[in-house]
């Protein structure tokens, strides 16, 4: 039970409380897999990106090669929003009279700063990377933002799929009522429209526009449900929880594990980071610390009894640069 079962799983999420070493773990895992000959894409979704610092290089919104076999990118929601708004504006030019451009453009600009926009944009990018990633890489590893944010990200596809399904159903009811109206109209067409003034309801046009609304919604819905299916497929996806042997990180990981289970997201295992090194005398101060750590480790064992657990010792220096990441990686036991 002391290695992470990652065989064939091409979408990995690394998550946990802030400051426990999520990015370090994700980067070490990525490096390890890349150096074993896999093509890896490492993606940071955390607004406070740190991949660049870890690899001692700059990483941006577009993927770039860090070492042969390892590409990385840090999602910038701002740029994703930009791309989306540009797309909406170009649809607008097809469907709206030029006189209305400025009004709609104003509305589009307001969305840029609306609550939830960044989250939604991030989610858009994550779902498209989840689909693209495995086509061009052996694995895609997400270094996720702190817990709450990530759980929301996992729940969103479900909420959104339900939402778009509701909207689509409404459109379908409307379309079938429209057809029924047309059928009753059949005779009238043969006769000319002289009695049309009887109708007190004007017909909404069943045209290209209606068709397009349907298309837009359908594409959204399919995209969300594809992401959801991928996320919940234990053959494709694995979530890795990172924590340190301290009270709050353990509590938070327990909560997170519960929520993941409730959403049926497959969890591959737990990485316990920064354990005081064994076989070394540490002095009185750190020895008392060690006995407290033992209690927490016991708690971790109980809380995650059914999960594989991997331990990484505290290092004597910061983890920065490829060599230090390799040092961490050698403790990551993986079945791949």
């Amino acid at each position: 039970m002391n290695s992470l079962p990652l065989e064939g799983r091409s979408i990995l999420f690394v998550g946990g409380k802030g400051g426990v070493g999520k990015s370090t773990t994700a980067a070490a895992l990525a490096l390890h897999l890349a150096e074993s000959g896999e093509q890896i894409l490492l993606v940071s979704t955390d607004p406070a990106h740190s991949l660049g610092d870890l690899f001692d290089t700059s990483v941006g919104d577009q993927k770039r090669e860090i070492i042969p076999g390892l590409h990385a990118l840090e999602i910038d929601p701002e740029q994703e929003i930009q791309r989306y708004l540009a797309r909406v504006k170009s649809t607008m030019r097809h469907y709206v009279q030029p006189a209305m451009y400025s009004e709609i453009e104003r509305q589009i600009e307001l969305t840029r700063h609306s609550p939830g926009a960044e989250e939604a944009a991030l989610m858009d990018r994550v779902t498209s990377l989840m689909e693209e990633g495995p086509t061009s890489h052996d694995r895609i590893i997400f270094d996720t933002a702190p817990t709450g944010h990530t759980l929301r990200l996992l729940a969103l596809p479900e909420i959104m799929a339900a939402w778009t399904t509701g909207l689509l159903r409404s459109r379908e009811r409307s379309a079938s009522l429209g057809k029924a109206v047309d059928r009753l109209r059949g005779r009238e067409e043969a006769r000319g429209d002289e009695l049309a003034w009887f109708d007190d309801v004007k017909e909404p046009a069943t045209d290209e526009r209606t068709q397009k609304i349907q298309e837009v919604l359908l594409e959204r819905q399919q995209r969300f449900s594809r992401a959801r299916r991928l996320l919940l497929d234990p053959k494709m996806t694995a979530f890795i929880l990172v924590l340190i042997p301290e009270k709050l990180p353990i509590l938070e990981s327990e909560k997170m594990f519960k929520v993941l289970k409730r959403h049926k997201v497959p969890v591959a295992g737990v990485v316990v980071n920064r354990i005081l090194p064994k076989n070394q005398t540490l002095g009185e101060f750190l020895e008392s610390r060690r006995s407290q750590e033992a209690e927490y480790l016991e708690r971790v064992e109980k809380a995650f009894a059914k999960l594989p657990r991997v331990q990484i010792p505290l290092l004597s220096h910061d983890v920065e640069g490829i060599d230090a990441l390799r040092e961490v990686a050698q403790h990551l036991e993986i079945d791949r």
């Binding site: 009279q97 509305q107 307001l110 939830g116 409307s174 009522l177 109209r185 109708d199």
Partner: protein, 87 residues
């Protein structure tokens, strides 16, 4: 116009009299469905929390032309959304 034409005309009128009510009812129902759809899409602007505000933005260009009629039907002479000017 002989009596057969006349009778045919009367038949047609009766048919129309019958059908038009149903047609009206169906069309009304459809309009209600469309109004509900508008409400769902524009709910965030009206202060109802909508998880998909960002995503429904791409529907805006497609729905904008129906927006004016919608808010009139909803009994609001002007756009109900202070930051969304219509008329």
């Amino acid at each position: 116009m002989d009596w057969r034409d006349r009778l045919g005309r009367v038949g047609e009128l009766l048919h129309e009299f019958y059908v038009v009510r149903h047609r009206g009812a169906l069309a009304r129902e459809r309009r209600q469905e469309d109004d509900l759809f508008m409400l769902l899409v524009f709910s965030e602007m009206m202060g109802i929390e909508n998880p998909s505000n960002y995503y429904t933005l791409e529907l805006l260009p497609l729905l904008y032309e129906g927006f004016h009629e919608w808010h009139l039907r909803m009994g609001m002479d002007h756009s109900p959304l202070e930051h969304f000017r219509c008329c």
